[in-house]
């Protein structure tokens, strides 16, 4: 860690050890799968081995007769009652949503879809009984390749839709009035570079598998579940299953990671609720890792056709983007909107005068996609940072020089982009200068030149990603105008307990981020109480009654601000009591370090913790004042926040084997003000690991029948610390102007930024050998083939894999 800090005087800015950790790392945890209630029954799901088939018959009698089995249900048993897994974002008015059963009724649309559920007294009995269910399938043609899926006459995933397109979302800056005509820009262009990039399919691979327990309680239900979104889930369960919202309690206990993968309303949660309601018994379902990899939603999976127009001097004049985005078989909670977020991110830090974006959502017979760390921004950042390098190569220009020529300078903020986003603040020059210096850029360039001249078998490459993103989801009015079913506010309560302790309630439900620690730091400073005196309540809809949960780097930027607002209200109320007790005017009181004092008579003071007890006793309060300091606030941001940074990567490419080693990785992130630098550092490290993993290691591969080939961690390669380099991290700080803490969010930045830095570095190492693209993940075999067969390595996979084939040089332009 290379961060240097000025020693902060308050809690904010201190690298506090996390309050959560002692408990989490000593096993005193409360995972959903640890939860047991009297009479608990266990579920096991029979999953389809076929990617697309009609279910012609299911015989469950033998399974029902097994020892310990209470019941076996199929989709037909819940056909009407189960409704559809909800999709909360209608990205175009004509978006096609074919509906998503939790248990397949007549047809299965992807391998791993649940077709029957066994309810048994223990998990083994449930698992054993699965083998005694007899299902007949009539297989149907499998749709896997998006380009084939949108061609005329293609086989269809859903018989009841016109084709395999769910929607076509279009933005054009000329038409929107936010910029010039894209067609004109390209007609007048001196240089146009067109590329087709692939964002491979990824699996979120959270550490704790998904698990759900449902217990009937009177007329209602309590659900414990490994989710990022207990509040949204409660609403969706109520709306879909008709359980009155006030009789549905959802609890997210300790949740072991999510990365967007638990930002979902899952078929398994619905099945648990349906079975519990049908039997009137408590039930539990915990998935196996194999089930998790196969059926928990996947991420990414786009084909990107990108055209960039520029003048010969490098000034960019236009950008056209067309995406084919794989929805998978069904639309889940946010499936359609994830790629559409790219519309607002592709222009990035550059001053494009004209821009067109089109995204077609495409159905295939694969697991549904949805949010995965970054959700739409990593894809867009990859596309723009890759095409900038390609343009630089075309113009024979230094890639950093090209970026400098086109980026928004720090004097130009606030800046309205070609897509109408208002970037409130930033300083790309400062972050870049610092990163270049930390990298030792010039020395590495010199070494690269030397290695090329000596034809060293190990070639060196340097890659850049000067990224920005939009996070802090989200201004309710903005997301409402884009088709979201809900808003983006967040709720907080600050309660002064009689003993002077502070209980904070947040609607942002954590799953590993350290909310309890960061939020304690914020409130400790706001109220002037010790860090240790603040407790944080979260993740239970009965105690944290209102919230929109955790995703999109929003918890601090939205939820944290709600806390500040609530704390301010507490101070205002306390001030009234203080004035009364100190027999002074409120106007004459100062509030500092947790105490109110009368200006000019410093000995006359009362701490807010003393006032808390005085308020609790209620013996002597101002006339008409309620005996409570407790306060709520609901904060709805007016804008997104825009973290940015410069990430630099040096890779060594072994041209004999194709293997890639990251020699040095430097990132300088500007995430605004920082609450806890250690938590920030952890977020950056984890984010980098996942972004680098996309570049080098991870890919969900299906075979030609639509079976997930990478169905275990033997084949789906999640890197460990042994595979990753030392990270040289630092920060610049340009405070956000859109919120009182000046914070921007950091949960996803590392993932968003790092992938193109690595890919650009690898290409920079071998571009002189005629290589212009290598598919991700850049496996040794792909890199080797790219060097020795002048391909992008796309043909590397074994027969039967549908890993995307090599492309001819961008034969299809964006539009």
């Amino acid at each position: 860690m290379t961060v240097t800090e000025e020693r902060p005087t308050g809690e904010v800015g201190r690298a506090r050890l996390r309050k959560e950790d002692a408990r989490l790392i000593t096993g005193q945890t409360n995972w959903t799968d640890n939860i047991s209630v009297p009479g608990l029954l266990h579920l096991a799901l029979l999953r389809s081995p076929s990617a697309h088939a009609k279910i012609t018959s299911i015989d469950v009698e033998a399974a029902k007769a097994r020892p310990g089995v209470i019941a076996v249900f199929t989709g037909k048993d819940f056909a009407e009652e189960q409704g559809s897994i909800p999709c909360a974002w209608t990205v175009t008015p004509d978006m096609v949503n074919p509906g998503h059963p939790s248990l397949a009724v007549d047809e299965v649309k992807h391998a791993g879809e649940a077709v029957a559920v066994v309810v048994a007294r223990d998990k083994s009995a449930a698992q054993d009984a699965l083998e005694h269910i007899d299902v007949d399938y009539d297989t149907l043609p499998v749709v896997l390749d998006m380009e084939a899926a949108v061609a005329d006459g293609a086989d269809k995933v859903h018989a009841n839709t016109e084709g395999n397109r769910s929607y076509s979302f279009v933005f054009e800056s000329g038409a929107a009035g936010t910029g010039g005509s894209t067609d004109e820009a390209f007609n007048d262009a001196e240089v146009v570079v067109s590329r087709r990039f692939i964002q491979q399919r990824l699996i979120p691979a959270f550490m704790e598998p998904r698990s759900t327990v449902v217990q009937p309680v009177g007329e209602g239900f309590t659900m414990w579940t490994a989710t990022q979104i207990p509040h949204i889930l409660r609403v969706m369960l109520s709306l879909t299953l008709g359980i009155p919202e006030h009789k549905m309690r959802v609890i997210a206990p300790d949740v072991g990671g999510g990365f967007g993968g638990k930002l979902q309303v899952t078929p398994e949660e619905f099945i648990c609720a349906l079975v519990s309601r049908r039997l009137g018994k408590p039930v539990k379902y915990t998935e196996s890792r194999s089930e998790s990899l196969m059926t928990a939603h996947h991420g990414r999976d786009q084909i990107q056709y990108i055209d960039i127009a520029a003048k010969r001097d490098g000034t960019v004049t236009g950008l056209k983007v067309r995406l084919l985005a794989d929805m998978g078989a069904y639309l889940r909670l946010l499936t359609p909107v994830v790629p559409v977020i790219g519309a607002f991110v592709f222009p990035a830090i550059y001053k494009f005068p004209a821009y067109r974006f089109q995204c077609d959502g495409v159905f295939t017979n694969k697991a549904p996609t949805d949010a995965y760390r970054g959700a739409g921004r990593p894809e867009a950042t990859f596309g723009i940072e890759r095409i900038m390098d390609e343009l630089a190569a075309e113009l024979d220009m230094d890639p950093m020089e090209l970026r400098r020529k086109n980026w928004i300078t720090h004097e130009e903020f606030p800046f309205t982009t070609v897509v109408g986003m208002v970037y409130d603040s930033g300083n790309y020059e400062a972050a870049t200068d610092k990163a270049l210096q930390m990298m030792g850029w010039d020395a590495l360039r010199a070494e690269q030149k030397q290695r090329r001249q000596s034809n060293d078998p190990v070639q060196l490459g340097l890659g850049i990603s000067t990224f920005t993103e939009m996070c802090g989801l989200a201004p309710s009015r903005v997301v409402g105008s884009l088709g979201a079913a809900a808003g983006g506010w967040e709720q907080a309560s600050v309660r002064m307990l009689p003993t002077g302790m502070v209980e904070v309630v947040t609607g942002a439900s954590p799953h590993g981020q350290g909310h309890v620690t960061s939020f304690s730091q914020i409130v400790a400073d706001q109220l002037g109480v010790p860090f240790e005196h603040v407790g944080v309540v979260h993740g239970d809809t009965s105690s944290s009654h209102k919230g929109l949960d955790t995703y999109g780097s929003r918890s601090l930027v939205v939820g944290g601000i709600a806390l500040v607002k609530a704390a301010e209200k507490v101070v205002e109320k306390a001030k009234r009591v203080a004035a009364h007790l100190l027999e002074a005017s409120e106007d004459d009181l100062d509030f500092k370090d947790g105490s109110f004092s009368v200006r000019g008579t410093p000995d006359s003071k009362l701490s807010i913790q003393e006032i808390a007890f005085a308020t609790f006793s209620g013996h002597n309060l101002p006339d008409g004042m309620e005996p409570s300091l407790d306060s709520d606030a609901t904060f709805d941001p007016e804008n997104f926040s825009f973290p940015h940074g410069t990430h630099l990567c040096a890779t060594e490419v072994d041209t004999e084997t194709g293997s890639v080693r990251i020699r040095k990785y430097v990132c300088v992130d500007d995430i605004g003000e920082v609450i806890n630098p250690m938590i920030v550092e952890g977020q950056v490290h984890g984010g980098l690991a996942q972004g680098i993993a996309q570049a080098l290691y991870e890919e969900a591969v299906y075979d030609e029948d639509g079976n997930l080939t990478t169905g275990s961690f033997v084949d789906y390669l999640v890197p460990s610390a042994l595979d990753l380099p030392y990270f040289d991290t630092d920060r610049t700080t340009t405070a956000a102007t859109s919120n009182p803490l000046g914070v921007k969010g950091v949960g996803e930045a590392g993932t968003i930024a790092s992938t193109p830095a690595v890919v650009n570095a690898v290409l920079d190492a071998v571009r002189h050998k005629g290589v212009t693209d290598i598919l991700m993940p850049m496996t040794p075999e792909r890199v080797w083939r790219a060097i020795h067969e002048s391909s992008d390595g796309g043909e590397r996979a074994a027969e039967g894999s549908i890993a995307y084939s090599a492309t001819s040089d961008a034969e299809e332009s964006a539009l």
């Binding site: 998990k123 890792r289 290691y697 999640v718 460990s720 595979d723 590397r796």
Partner: protein, 285 residues
């Protein structure tokens, strides 16, 4: 995942284990369980009976026996790594064992289990082959010894019969002047080998007096790279000569294609890695 139900037997001697194997039905031996238990949990195997060798003390330990060292089949990888005899007389085993999976696996997984499982991507079979190890196998009729060259029969198949137990492995000591190296190629540190090369060479000055080279994951069984050995023997330990010899590494192999590598790439890797392994074994890297 939960394995299908099975009967469980835990013998305390090799004789008891052999006896248990005669019990009828589908019986499998459990050593360290690092491959077998996942396979059972995925229900890719559902034996009637599991015979757990974990309490057979006589199967553990490493001893010296004349010109050989003898490694008990149930000796864990972690114990192999710590052992001075192995490091002194068969350092190739130490070097290969260091690359196996992760610390947790090395503390459960066993030397004999890895050989008896005979995964073509496992590292130790090629090492045993390169070192001309001998496997001692116990059955109801007594004990027999099978050389490594005759031990690995096919994918996941060895000379150990259904009613037999691999007891120990005799590894001839390498004498003076020998150096060794295991060159493993994989995509992430804890993964199986895409290709691995086990090499041991004896130098006489700058000349390679003897060479042993065996390949991991270049066929359904480990492969002795005899053509490479012949080309190396008597030649100089120079980069050029070794590279020329390593060009024969692909001869007699039959690699598969999978997500990590098609067969032709594996063939290429075998050559590059053989060159590197031999040069490293000769101290020339």
């Amino acid at each position: 995942m939960i394995p299908a139900a099975f009967d469980y037997v835990r013998p305390s001697s090799v004789d008891e284990a052999v006896q248990a194997l005669g019990g009828g039905g589908d019986i499998k031996l459990l050593a360290g369980g690092q491959s077998f238990i996942p396979v059972m949990r995925l229900r890719l195997a559902a034996p009637d009976t599991v015979v757990d060798l974990g309490r057979v003390d006589e199967l553990r330990g490493i001893r010296e026996d004349g010109d050989a060292i003898v490694i008990g089949a149930m000796t864990t990888h972690a114990d192999v790594l710590k052992n001075a005899l192995v490091r002194e007389h068969a350092e190739l085993i130490t070097k290969a064992t260091e690359t196996i999976a992760d610390r947790q696996v090395r503390h459960r997984g066993t030397f004999g289990g890895a050989l008896a499982h005979a995964d073509p991507a496992g590292d130790l079979p090629a090492v045993a082959l390169a070192l001309d190890a001998e496997m001692v196998i116990a059955g109801s009729g007594g004990r027999r010894t099978v050389p490594a060259a005759e031990f690995f029969l096919d994918y996941l198949t060895t000379a150990v019969g259904e009613d037999e137990v691999l007891v120990e492995v005799r590894v001839p000591k390498l004498g003076a002047g020998w150096g060794s190296h295991y060159e493993k190629f994989n995509r992430v540190a804890q993964a199986w080998s895409i290709v691995g090369v086990a090499a041991a060479v004896q130098l006489d000055g700058d000349t390679i007096a003897q060479a042993r080279v065996a390949l991991t994951n270049m066929s359904s069984v480990p492969v002795r790279a005899s053509a490479v050995e012949q080309a190396l023997t008597g030649g100089p330990a120079s980069a050029e000569a070794v590279e020329a010899a390593a060009a024969h590494a692909n001869e007699g192999t039959n690699p598969t294609s999978d997500l990590n590598a098609k067969a032709d790439y594996r063939g290429h890797l075998a050559q590059v890695l053989t060159k590197r392994a031999v040069l490293a074994a000769a101290g020339r890297n």
